[in-house]
Symmetry: C2
Subunit: 374 residues, 2 copies
């Protein structure tokens, strides 16, 4: 029996309610959420039932492709990939199942990239002997926007860019709906699987000095002739809300950082928790709680965020039970530069229940920091 299998049925039902907003905000169809979770009576059913819905979409994609309907085929592959994503994101054991689902998701999503609107380019970012797969998207029709606050035409030449930091169990494929909002404000997006995440996980586990990976992404941006490396900002969600603050504090080429649902530190995480514990061990690539503990304790902004001398925005939901507002608030209390704190009373973890509120706010704030106005 897996660790998550020990969770009670009532927890399962509670989780179904709690997770719905995140799934819907990030590309799962409401119908799929209802019919798939209705089939899930035990934790062991979670991945198989999402895989079943995914394979229905794969079959629909193949049928559409045979009829020459490429856009429809891409839509179904995207739905299939997202079902696989949410099928395995919380089920890290057995590892072989997790890895098979992760790989299949990534494979399916590669075919989707040209059909995203605007499309994405798959790029490989070198870092410490590996490459981190990433998605680069450019804002569409930047030229229809008025000149920016410094009088420069929009969309001509290099595009300002936001780096997108995923969390403990999210990956670049989950970010496209948030990217859409950032793109509509004139920002290009670079969303990458960092150490311990998505496709990069099997090449490199999570690491305390995660900021080194972020600096590699900045190096990548500097080499692109289509991106403006003088206007790099960054955003992160959940654990990514911590990672983005750590990285920005230690990487001065990032001009501003926004975190949603992130923590100041990870030291008080309950690694014995049957749902969350195994996922942290998985992230770090270790087998025991004893190995993970010092890595968690070292994952703190204490002594780090004080170095941050550029603007930070921290957005949090008052109803967040995974990262308390009190913990997150220490980021703005301790940062060395200007800060903005936004607490949504109705918000859950990452404010996933109110994407229409927090995403425009974050996108506008990031654009404002580099003189864009939309």
């Amino acid at each position: 029996m897996t660790a998550t299998g020990e969770l009670s049925l009532s927890v399962l039902e509670r989780v179904k309610e709690a997770w719905r907003p995140r799934f819907l905000a990030n590309g799962i169809e409401p119908y799929d959420y209802e019919v798939t979770t209705q089939r899930i009576a035990r934790w062991e059913d979670w991945l198989p039932e999402w895989r079943r819905t995914a394979e229905e979409h794969v079959a629909a994609a193949e049928e559409a492709a045979r009829a020459g309907h490429r856009a429809t085929a891409a839509q179904y592959k995207r739905l299939a990939a997202m079902c696989l994503h949410f099928g395995h994101f919380n089920v890290v054991e057995p590892e072989s199942d997790w890895l098979a689902a992760q790989r299949r998701k990534a494979e399916l999503f590669r075919d989707v990239l040209p059909y995203l609107d605007p499309p994405a380019e798959r790029v490989a970012i070198p870092f410490a002997g590996i490459v981190m797969p990433a998605h680069l998207r450019h804002p569409r029709d930047a030229e229809r926007h008025p000149p920016d606050a410094e009088g420069r035409p929009r969309g001509a030449g290099r595009t300002p860019v936001v780096l997108y930091f995923s969390g403990l169990d999210s990956t670049k494929e989950e970010a496209t709906t948030f990217e859409d909002v950032l793109l509509s404000r004139g920002l290009a997006t670079v969303t990458f699987d960092g150490p311990g995440q998505g496709e990069t996980w099997e090449r490199m586990p999570g690491r305390v000095d995660w900021e080194k990976a972020a600096s590699a992404v900045v190096d990548f941006v500097e080499k692109r002739t289509d991106l403006d490396s003088s206007r790099i900002v960054a955003v992160g969600v959940s654990l990514g809300g911590y990672l983005v603050m750590r990285s920005a504090a230690l990487e001065p080429r990032i001009r501003a950082a926004a975190g949603i649902g992130g923590r100041f530190d990870q030291s008080d995480r309950d690694l014995e928790d049957p749902m969350h514990g195994p996922r942290f061990l998985h992230f770090w690539g270790v087998r025991t709680v004893a190995e993970a503990r010092p890595l968690m304790t070292a994952s703190t902004l204490d002594g780090v965020i004080e170095k941050m001398d550029r603007p930070v925005l921290v957005v949090h939901g008052a109803r967040d039970t995974l990262a308390t507002p009190e913990n997150a608030r220490r980021i703005v209390e301790r940062t060395g530069g200007p800060s903005t704190w936004v607490l949504y009373p109705e918000g859950n973890h990452v404010c996933n229940n109110i994407p229409h509120k927090y995403r425009p706010l974050v996108a506008d704030w990031l654009a404002d920091q580099i003189g864009l106005s939309v």
Copy 2:
């Protein structure tokens, strides 16, 4: 007490469940649906509570505009307009409240049009002494598509176009999410408030010879230098699924017609039904069931659809309780030309619970009829 006020609480709760998919498919945020319907304990609360949510979004739009965040202001105005739309769509009494909500929705949505992606142009279509307001949208980046089946470059010159027919209680503002799918297949969209619908209602009530309004839209397309009047197709939902078949049968310039959730005839509608009856009287602009009855009886495809010699597609949900599959199926049984019948076993009225399935299917079918392939 209004007619709808006589409906029981259990009906209210059932309706909340039944309507959720349509709201979510057409632009209402899941969060807004849950919190707004939770506040609704009586039918009399329906419009006021949706108006309350709408006004919260209007306030957010004004705040965003003051900060120079125009895209965000437009997003909130769109949410406000859709809350007003679904606040009044089923509450036609008192008429002054209905009209005030309809007008405010339309006013708010005008500011949204440049921010739709792709944007919409507001156009006025002359018909029988009035003008019918409509939204015209062009596919973005048509040139990135391969040449069409007849070897012509896509996006150069005139764009093929689909005319969008709304239903008894839907309007052009509700159609944008379906339009997005049609646009991504290379079709321009013309979505109009016809007789008895939306902004046109106060200028002209519903009429049995509704096809004359459709012909006026075709005339409009012929005058546009950016649209290809040799490649006009049409789609309609719910009552629009009936109207589109009637119009296409009698208007040979429409090359193909698709209907979703439409009926063959309206004669067996229960005009005494406290929810649906008043809405039909409203559509026809009459005060009594006795006046409405002959108009309903005359609204049939019997003797009309036999004239249809171009392709028709009828899509229906087996779980549709407003228009039975048996009634709809008579369209394909009686049409004079080629026909395709698609019944989704899991589909509800208009298959609003599975937009990810029926919309790509319809869009691809329409594109196929005029030699586009995507």
